[in-house]
């Protein structure tokens, strides 16, 4: 227990006090985040999900530097190439190492398109998720902390929750496409539009969860103590409340990322997403549905990427929820 040699002839009383003579703690102090990581490690699905998310993020970020083919380059001689693996069962298939995942009907390289599409999908997903989190946290904290704002903000949240989201998204995107395109260019305008409509329609769950936690937290003694030494409301929220609601926010962040990616793909699939020369996974999938009998891989590859990313994010959220909950942790 201790490095000190126990003096000879020590009786029982000194022995019980031995622990008190430790110069330093016998074990390294454990931080909260180390505990969280220890619990998180046990969730195999979450590890896999997190790993896949990191992998796909790196792949779409660094991909264009490794696979330098321009996704928009038309190569009409090499159109309709099949992926390289089709050669395994079909020796007559038109394959080539120049385009390992094949090309589309205009000869654009599929791998380069998937990387570019992944960039767009992930960018939309992350941006919309961050926007939704910021709004949700803001509404949640304000309505949880300030009693006067609570009633009206929560009624407003309830009202927004009862809006029909998908129809409204469709309406908003089709109707505001033109002016935003005129102001910010075809890609920039669509990006702003899609991110803001998804963000503005998915903050409600976060707001409710954060509000509930803040309501419980602000009655605790440490908040009373902070207030008694004259801490301002802003400082209480920043220093004491926000760090304590990080875990529910992180869990809803993962769910938000998953829904944002799916919603963007759904909008692209319904034909109201990005312009056709700007690939996203949903767009690639939607464009190839017409010819999926001859070229099923053009539907399956982006579809698998969307599904695996969302699956990974969902598993990550599951693991985070377990790891961040101190009641479950350590079991």
């Amino acid at each position: 227990m201790t490095d000190h040699p126990i003096p000879a002839g020590s009786d029982l009383e000194i022995d019980t006090l031995a622990a008190l003579q430790d110069k330093e703690p016998p074990k390294e102090p454990r931080s909260q985040w180390k505990d969280v990581w220890d619990q998180f490690k046990h969730h195999k699905g979450a590890l896999f999900g997190g790993g896949f998310l990191i992998f796909i993020t790196l792949a779409v970020l660094l991909g264009p530097y490794i696979w330098t083919l321009d996704p928009q380059k038309l190569d009409i001689r090499n159109k309709d190439m099949r992926p390289i693996y089709t050669a395994l069962w079909d020796s007559t298939a038109k394959v080539g190492w120049g385009n390992p995942l094949g090309t589309d009907n205009l000869g654009r390289d599929m791998l380069a398109n998937l990387i570019a599409g992944g960039r767009a999908s992930m960018a939309v997903g992350w941006a919309a998720m961050v926007l939704a989190l910021v709004i949700g946290t803001l509404v949640g904290v304000v309505s949880g902390y300030f009693k006067k704002a609570d009633f009206w903000l929560m009624r407003f949240t309830d009202l927004v929750l009862s809006l029909p989201i998908l129809p409204l998204l469709l309406v908003a995107v089709t109707l505001f496409r033109e002016p935003l395109r005129a102001n910010f260019g075809p890609e920039g305008g669509m990006f702003i539009l899609i991110v803001s409509v998804i963000g503005l329609t998915s903050w409600m769950q976060t707001a409710r969860i954060v509000r509930g936690d803040i309501l419980a937290l602000k009655e605790r003694e440490f908040i009373l103590a902070a207030r008694s030494i004259g801490t301002t409301s802003g400082a209480i929220i920043r220093r004491h409340l926000l760090p304590n609601v990080v875990s529910p926010i992180m869990v809803s962040a993962t769910l938000g990322l998953a829904t944002a990616i799916i919603t963007e793909s759904a909008l692209s699939f319904l034909g109201v997403g990005f312009p056709s020369d700007f690939p996203t996974w949903g767009k690639l999938l939607a464009d190839s549905v017409q010819r999926m009998e001859q070229y099923p891989e053009r539907v399956i590859l982006p579809g698998i990427l969307i599904s695996l990313t969302v699956l990974g994010v969902n598993y990550l959220g599951d693991g985070l929820r377990d790891a961040l909950d101190p009641r479950i942790r350590g079991r």
């Binding site: 009862s162 809006l163 989201i165 129809p167 309406v171 908003a172 505001f176 319904l270 969302v310």
Partner: protein
């Protein structure tokens, strides 16, 4: 309970008014011009008259008020006339579609059965699959069945319907040739043969939608069963010698169903929304597909009415869920 229901009903009126205002303003702010398709040779004063004929000459608040009156006062009258053969709505202005110049509600009524068949059936199928899976995986927690079940529901959660749809079409329509890929809404069931055709064409859209329902519901069912299986009353029931089947299927299941039923009620509007994509994939001409075509054709009255119908569904089923929760669980008292 009755007072609670009445209060919620009254509260839902301002909610619906707010939603209708949001939808209306959104459509008003939109830059689309219904006159854009009119040839340039039409003189401006004629164009102005056409505009007024569409009800566009009035200020915004008058337009909103008129729409409210048309939707909440005249359309129900038309319905009453249709049912009882009266003539309340005779000669009154209804909500007119800009695409077809016919009343919006008539088209909606034509389209709703297709949506209801596919969506309703898929929901029932989804529930019927989800409940047993949820019950069994909770009863054998952490067993192989539970682990696979959790994994499959996670996949069902994550694979979007616009991917499963084409995937099933490639597999069953193209490769195997078992099922038709396009839903034929003109098909009439008269005998066994035509019923088989109808059944075949419904299998895929129903299963795609049901997968989403199953994934969500079985997770709820499982966690609700787990909450109840550890309760004292379960031990009591076992201790007094009840059979295991009775304990699980009667005592535990009945208590676990309370939250699940509200989730089922809350999920109905969402599945109508999700049907927009599925209808698009399988070419079902239901109200989701109607909404899409109306959007692309800039048919604002149609879009407005359909979006509002979705909103009414959400508000209605939220209300039903709240009331059901109070009715089923005697511990819940609203006052």
């Amino acid at each position: 309970m009755l007072t609670f229901t009445i209060r919620r009903l009254i509260l839902s009126i301002p909610t619906l008014l707010f939603i209708s205002l949001v939808i209306f303003l959104l459509l008003q702010l939109a830059p689309g011009d219904p006159m854009a398709q009119v040839p340039l040779t039409v003189p401006p004063e004629v164009k102005e008259k056409m505009r007024e004929a569409l009800g566009l000459g009035q200020p915004i608040h008058i337009q909103y008020l008129k729409w409210i009156i048309q939707f909440f006062w005249i359309e129900p009258q038309v319905l009453v006339d249709h049912w009882f053969g009266t003539s309340f709505a005779e000669g009154k202005q209804r909500v007119i579609s800009w695409q077809t110049r016919s009343p919006v509600m008539d088209i909606v009524v034509q389209r709703i059965p297709q949506t209801l068949w596919v969506v309703g059936l898929s929901y029932v199928v989804g529930i019927l699959i989800a409940l047993p899976i949820g019950i069994y995986s909770a009863y054998r927690q952490y067993s192989v069945f539970d682990q696979t079940g959790t994994f499959i529901t996670m996949i069902g959660f994550s694979i979007p319907p616009f991917f499963t749809g084409p995937l099933l079409i490639v597999l069953f329509s193209v490769q195997l040739g078992w099922l038709p890929s396009i839903y034929d809404t003109t098909h009439v069931v008269t005998d066994w043969e035509s019923f088989k055709v109808q059944f075949m064409q419904m299998v895929m859209p129903v299963m795609v939608l049901a997968l989403q329902t199953t994934a969500q519901l079985s997770r709820y069912m499982r966690s609700s069963m787990l909450d109840n299986l550890g309760q004292d009353y379960v031990r009591t029931a076992r201790a007094k010698g009840l059979k295991e089947g009775v304990v699980v299927m009667v005592h535990v299941l009945r208590n676990s169903m309370i939250p699940v039923i509200t989730v089922i009620a809350l999920g109905v509007p969402a599945i109508f929304g999700g049907a927009i994509i599925t209808e698009n994939v399988f070419k079902v001409n239901g109200i989701g597909q109607l909404l899409l075509t109306a959007l692309f054709a800039n048919d604002i009255p149609m879009v407005m009415t359909l979006t509002f119908i979705f909103a009414i569904l959400i508000v209605l089923f939220n209300l039903i869920a709240d009331v059901l929760y109070g009715v089923l669980d005697p511990r819940i008292r609203y006052d």
